[in-house]
């Protein structure tokens, strides 16, 4: 959306930018206080961390804010502060778990070398860089749709790459999702997610008419034509392939759920959901029959307390953490979240549950709820179908991921091993999600830009506004 060169009427438009700045200040303050409390509880004194984390975060947020002011002035003012708060709280918790592990190491007489908080600070800065790059490079989200098939190719390569690499490079904790080199580990699947959502959105926009065509009726539902099942089947096969090769249940579930929802949003046909759920059930059944790894997960899910010292150790320690936290938690620094293996990444939610209790955890879930709701608001407001699908896909991916992760650590679902967006330790996830944030801001900017400034100049849109009313219902 290029800014109109013609004279704009001097109407004061509320952009929400100052609200955004205010919320950022609030979010940074919360993080500073949280870090101070954690340090005070653990070390009995305050140190530089509260200020340095607050400083870095404030810097990141202000830079992001200024870039938004410049290139996306009408963007949603709540998205960035929400992310800043989540990222900051994640940083506090990662640092706090570092300290816990350090203490544990000291007690057991070995040296702790896995400190992650400063790495996460670095990743935050890289995330910011990508954020700025995306926001500046993509001035109109609709341009992305032009590169649909390139995106698909890049996405698939990223997704499949770790499965093709030798296990020594790609395998961590039994799942082959990584590329590890020179001390860095990257989970390309996190980036693949963004590319594939963009592809799916572009693909479905062009194919939605066909996919909406009615086929046979069965138990009162009109099912699509048989030949139109192709894309769904391909998505399903890719997900099964990921599951088989990478043994990564979470990613597989995520991708399939995402594609299904996009298909539904594009076509508004419930039948796609029915078919998709059946395919998913079939896939899950096959996985259960053929993969030991998957069976173990299900066994642990159903009977965790029978395996408290073996395969169920992680999830039971997580449940014990949540139970120990109870209603209000032990306070930051007051619990023992490091007891849960990989507390910093997959199980950071149970660390928050232990130290902030049910109330803190629900507050964090509400932050995600806010983020996703704002994403969907952008999807509903934006005028073009591609923007709608892209915003919905990105928001839904965050929402679904949070559901799968939180459900996993609290035994609502089998544990899957995904990161919690913005909160967990893990560079790929954080950086990729900053790109998601940039895209959502871009779309919300387009959505919230006053019609006046948009309608007057003859902007060449690929899709006329009438396109918005679906031709086929």
């Amino acid at each position: 959306m290029t800014a109109p060169a013609v004279a704009v009427p001097r109407v004061k438009v509320r952009t929400g930018r100052s609200a955004e700045l205010g919320l950022i200040v609030g979010a940074v303050l919360v993080v500073v206080v949280a870090e101070a409390v954690a340090d005070a509880t653990l070390n009995g004194s305050l140190d530089h961390h509260a200020l340095s984390y607050g400083g870095v975060l404030g810097l990141v947020a202000v830079v992001a804010h200024l870039v938004i002011r410049k290139v996306a002035p009408f963007a949603d003012p709540v998205l960035l502060p929400t992310v800043v708060l989540l990222n900051g709280l994640g940083l506090v918790m990662i640092h706090r778990i570092d300290l816990g592990l350090e203490q544990q190491a000291a007690e057991e007489g070995y040296t702790f070398e896995g400190a992650s908080a400063s790495t996460q600070v670095l990743w935050t800065l890289i995330g910011l860089t990508l954020f700025v790059a995306v926001l500046i490079a993509i001035r109109d989200h609709r341009h992305i749709a032009r590169y649909a098939y390139t995106l698909a190719l890049v996405g698939l390569v990223l997704l499949i790459l770790p499965s093709l690499l030798p296990a020594r490079i790609s395998e961590v904790n039994g799942a082959r999702l990584w590329i590890r080199f020179a001390g860095f580990s990257i989970q390309p699947g996190e980036f693949a997610k963004v590319f594939l959502i963009a592809f799916a959105a572009a693909f479905l926009v062009t194919k939605r008419d066909v996919l909406s065509l009615a086929g046979r009726r069965f138990v009162g539902i009109e099912f699509p034509r048989g030949r139109d099942f192709g894309p769904l089947l391909v998505a399903w096969l890719v997900c099964i392939g990921v599951l088989v090769r990478s043994r990564d249940l979470g990613t597989s579930l995520m991708f399939f759920g995402l594609f299904l929802v996009l298909l539904y949003v594009a076509t508004e046909r419930v039948s796609w959901i029915v078919v998709g759920v059946l395919l998913f059930a079939g896939g899950a059944y096959l996985a259960y029959q053929f993969f030991e790894h998957f069976r173990t997960r299900v066994t642990v899910w159903l009977h965790p307390f029978d395996y408290t010292s073996t395969i169920g150790y992680q999830v039971t320690q997580s449940l014990f953490g949540l139970g120990t936290g109870g209603m209000f938690g032990t306070g930051l620094g007051g619990g023992r979240p490091e007891t849960v293996p990989v507390a910093k990444s997959d199980f950071i939610i149970s660390a928050f549950g232990e130290e902030l209790g049910l109330f803190g955890l629900v507050a964090i879930l509400m932050l995600y709820g806010l983020f996703v709701a704002r994403g969907f608001a952008a999807a509903m407001l934006v005028r073009d179908s591609f923007g709608k699908l892209l915003a919905a896909g990105l928001s839904f991916s965050i929402g679904l991921q949070v559901f799968v992760v939180v459900g996993g650590v609290s035994r609502l679902l089998p544990e899957t091993g995904l990161t919690t967006p913005f909160l967990s330790y893990g560079g790929s996830s954080l950086v990729a999600n900053y790109a998601v944030l940039a895209l959502l801001l871009r779309i919300s900017d387009a959505a919230r830009r006053p019609a006046q400034t948009q309608a007057q100049p003859p902007v060449a849109t690929e899709e006329p506004h009438t396109r918005e009313q679906p031709a086929v219902r």
Partner: protein, 486 residues
């Protein structure tokens, strides 16, 4: 598309709700259960990383947490472990806690609500991570004397301050070393525990002072004598005391030890009958008074068929069902189904010594915060458990019991310069085994008074009342001397 978007957003809302409902379940409804699950490593780590409070006797720690270098930051260390083991108990990684370590766990671990005095201040400063202390009523000299005097013998010694009910001594021998069970070496703990448990001859971990009951034998005659006094009999009243009594509706004849004769062979004074521990006289007295009277009197002395906590668990002392007159006859001389704990034995002596008023026994003198200040309602308040006997009658019974030591079976308990009262017992238990030797007694000097009970398992010789006194009374004498500083 917006309709579908609304639905998908709604679906995500439902997922969020499901998460929150499930978290309510996990964090709150199941929360305490999860938190307390033994597999929850936090429980153990927290407990051990906090400095557990000290158990103190007369200003000296008998159980304290000493800092260590390993993961479990503190090692529970017991001074004179075996001497105090029946009171301190142990604090073990695998076998949990026992005795005071268990009963006082809230204070010692720091979980007691009274330790969160100023929650607001704690919120900012962080709570004092140490547990509170427990000061016991024990007397180190009496405790050590009792333990030393019991060397090589199996049994228990309990002493009380009759005026308050404070427990001064609680010894059970053979004992165990709680240090071995409270170490941080899993293998060593297990070896020690299994060794103690498998020693069925010595049962070192059996807390005889509070948890084991014994037939009291002639010691129970104190209760019958009290009932008789209340019934109007006086110490000088002559009561029937034949050489032997055939129990009603049986062919069992009950005789005196060694076939000894009480008084003139027909009657004897109540006082003399107690002094020489005349079986026939007390069997007949009991049968004359009736089951209900004996049961009521026993209950007033604390033998009420109830276990209780002081705060350690104390097994119930009972006179048994007493179904007929013959049983009543045997019951009256402390046989048949009468079973009392050594603590109960001390309570009998204490009631008499305290002029008929039984004070409720207690072990904890004071509960303290880590900074040694007393916790709210942390000071022991002596309480009357029952008024067993009028002061007048109690004084008469006291005089009779002093006679037992001065002129009778309890002479081995005499202490130069003071009057000691008491009663011996030689309680038959299993046929073919030597009887248990009992002595209960009391003394006072210089404003301090003590009541003591000693049981030596199989310490008597069958058929001889004096043997019980000979074995058990000297132990009581040592304890009395140690406590009164004589």
């Amino acid at each position: 598309m917006n309709r579908a978007l609304t639905r998908v957003a709604g679906f995500l809302g439902v997922l969020l709700l499901a998460l929150i409902i499930n978290l309510n379940f996990v964090n709150v409804i199941k929360g305490s259960e999860y938190a307390a699950n033994p597999a929850n490593r936090r429980v153990l780590l927290n407990e051990y990383s906090r400095e557990r409070g000290t158990i103190i006797v007369q200003g000296r720690p008998i159980a304290a947490s000493v800092p260590t270098d390993d993961r479990l930051k503190y090692l529970r260390t017991y001074t004179n472990g075996a001497v105090y083991a029946p009171v301190t108990g142990y604090y073990s990684l695998f076998y949990g806690t026992s005795a005071m370590e268990a009963a006082g766990d809230d204070v010692l671990s720091g979980d007691d609500d009274r330790l969160f005095v100023n929650r607001v201040a704690d919120l900012f400063k962080g709570r004092d991570p140490r547990g509170g202390n427990i000061v016991l009523t024990l007397d180190t000299k009496a405790q050590q004397a009792a333990y030393d005097a019991m060397a090589g013998q199996k049994g228990a010694v309990v002493a009380l301050d009759p005026t308050t009910g404070a427990i001064l001594t609680a010894v059970s021998t053979p004992s165990f070393d709680p240090n071995l069970l409270s170490s941080h070496d899993p293998d060593a703990i297990q070896t020690a525990y299994e060794q103690y448990q498998s020693d069925s001859v010595n049962s070192p971990m059996l807390n005889r002072a509070f948890n084991q009951t014994y037939p009291p034998g002639s010691v129970f005659k104190v209760v019958v004598a009290a009932a008789a006094l209340e019934d109007g009999t006086t110490p000088t009243t002559r009561v029937p005391a034949p050489d032997s009594v055939t129990l009603p509706d049986t062919e069992t004849s009950l005789a005196n030890f060694d076939g000894e004769r009480c008084g003139d062979g027909q009657t004897d004074t109540l006082e003399h009958a107690l002094t020489i521990s005349c079986n026939t006289a007390f069997a007949l007295l009991g049968m004359d008074l009736g089951t209900q009277t004996i049961r009521t009197e026993a209950a007033k002395f604390g033998i009420d068929n109830q276990s209780f906590q002081m705060p350690l668990y104390v097994a119930r002392s009972t006179i048994g069902p007493v179904l007929d007159q013959a049983s009543l006859g045997q019951t009256s001389i402390g046989q048949r189904d009468v079973q009392i704990t050594p603590l109960q034995g001390a309570m009998l002596a204490a009631t008499v010594a305290n002029n008929g008023t039984l004070m409720r026994p207690y072990l904890v003198q004071q509960e303290q915060a880590p900074n040694l200040s007393t916790l709210p309602s942390g000071d022991a308040k002596p309480e009357v458990q029952s008024e067993a006997l009028s002061s007048d009658l109690a004084k008469q019974l006291k005089a009779m019991m002093i006679n037992v030591v001065n002129k009778g079976t309890g002479s081995a308990a005499q202490v130069d310069g003071i009057e000691v009262g008491g009663k011996t017992g030689t309680a038959d238990n299993i046929v073919g085994e030597a009887p248990h030797a009992w002595f209960i007694g009391f003394a006072e000097h210089d404003g301090k008074s003590i009541a003591v009970a000693v049981v030596i398992e199989n310490g008597g010789v069958s058929g001889s009342e004096t043997t019980g006194g000979l074995a058990a009374a000297p132990v009581a004498q040592q304890v009395i001397k140690a406590y009164l500083g004589l």
